[in-house]
Amino acid sequence: MTVEDLQELAEQEQQRQEKFTNRLMYCAAAGCVSCGSINVRDMLKKALAEKNLAATVEVVGTGCMGLCGEGPLVKVLPEGTLYQRVDETVARKIVEEHLVTKTPVKDNEIDTSHPFFAEQMKIVLENCGRIDAEKIEEYIAVEGYAALARVVTEMQPAEVVEEVRKSGLRGRGGAGYSTGLKWGIVRKVQSDTKYVVCNADEGDPGAFMDRSVLEGDPHRILEGMAIAGYAVGAQQGYIYVRAEYPLAIERLRLAIKQAERLGLLGNRIFDSQFNFRIDLRIGAGAFVCGEETALIRSIEGRRGRPRPRPPYPSEKGLWGMPTLLNNVETYANIAPIIRKGSTWFAAIGTPKSTGTKVFALAGKIRNTGLIEVPMGISLRKIVFDIGGGTPEGTEFKAAQTGGPSGGCIPAAHLDVPVDYESLSSVGSIMGSGGMIVMDSTSNMVDVAKYFMDFCKDESCGKCIPCRVGTVHIHGLLERIAQGKATTNDLPLLEELCMMVKETSLCGLGQSAPNPVLSTLRFFRNEYEELLQEPATFVPSGTDTPPTTH
């Protein structure tokens, strides 16, 4: 494969697509599939055959189109008309009315000028809803692998690192470390063997951003990783993906096979000296494996227990070799940065948090689904404009970001810009992209308890504060929720939280108390209302009945 071959492939595919008068894109991501989008596909094909349109209209399964709560979704190209809640009847109507009589199916048409779409900006998800994830040609037709071609044939590794650094891209896994700096560190370490690892162990319950990218645009990850491999001097990559995502695993396997067949992975990529291979490693259900040292352990076939850093994986990672670890969304940003330049990317978002962020919007909100917004957008815009606000008759209470490591942002901070620093200033974190909206019916002590229950179950058990501390924090929350705790228990709860936060070995334990601390900060009254006064000495003569529990 040469650069010219790639261009030729792209043109061929574009020509193939142009032969169709229409392309019907149905959402083949997990959410819509579980609502029956496969039946919709079959009906579309059947109806097309009946109307003799099978040769001129293509039916394409594509990645997540965002509005998961209203699925299954079908998009008609080239018009770009988007249909929601498509069942078999509607599918037939789309063919018979939209395609044949050219009258859109009004009842199911979505107004794409709605803020849900207008306020979004798609970089990571640009191909979701646009291409068939299972066809490498379709990815190539939308400039896929062009960035890799350019990097390998025209740029020095140091230039690639510099370009990524200048883009201001920060790790999308949650912590927000500068991606360019990380790449630079790994590049500079002297070693014959280095590894590039993609963290696709999306464990935050209530987040499915990475899944959507993996299922909807797997080649984007492969390309991002290969560019990273070239930049840091690695020849082998691993994608560590959750076993709970069978479709993503299947699509990745297929994508790797396709890329290898075309020589986009393997030896002498684009006739250069650069060799790069990618293997999959399947996780087995451990949230802690999102922590980088635990993830490395797990790839090595061990119990996924973290170890103290330093040494950092960039120095001693997989099998003791320098290892670059980034998450799915980070790699997904690489190809566009190379293609369109770091200046373009750096102009999006805020000066310190550049680019976009994908959020999985869920909970007590009208429009649930996957959204991609420029950094710095206000929380209010996300919740009320994009999300459409809370359901009828309830009021917004808080938005939870960062999952079990994050915090709740109350109504008073709705105008906070969504960027790394601002979110942490209000006691939450950017996190990997889960955003759960709570309304006036949500009980915050319960929410804190829910997350602590998760953390205690997911604690690996290596360090004492996390192993035992989370159990006690959960127990205290339970007692508080049941009304059995006294006012003495609240300071104990806070002390335990601070202790677990400051003394735990890894990020899981260090951030586990965050949901409790943040709800204590903004909704302390909800805790205090549940507390009793402890029994004390009552001198005779001042008789009040003894306090009973």
Binding site: G69, G301, R303, G363
Partner: protein, 173 residues
Amino acid sequence: MPPTTTTPKPHPSGDNRFKLLDRAITKHQSRGDALIEVLHAAQGIFGYLENDLLVYIARALKLPLSRVYGVATFYHFFTLKPKGKHTFVLCTGTACYVKGANKIQHAAEECCKVKFGQTTPDDKISLVQARCVGSCGIAPVAVLDDKVAGKLTPEGAVERLMAWKNEKDEVTA
């Protein structure tokens, strides 16, 4: 009993499934660091990880027994006990939780008289918890024998569980 033929011996247990497992092990060149991959393969073939199976894997990958046991018990995905005939996987991700998954949990536990993570004594139903199956848009969600049921209610869950419970046992010879 002496072997009657000179063809390659089948696995001592005479179980052909071990051939499949051997293939998975060979694919990874019997490397110890492929333990998790091999356990995945083994569970896929046998349904669960029996002790004998773990011993077999430990020998094949030249790993200490306790390491294999430690790994198999660390990850939620692996199970050392056989699953029930039906599985009810309740999503307890945040979105489902906010939309009342805990009510379904209580109802299901009440109905089956076992806790999540357990199988009913008649081996009919396993209650399993999953941390987010990625269908947050249609929360609360459960996966009933590989079929996703969205916007589930406690009553709906109990109805389906009762159907499983009242299923007649298939006649076994």
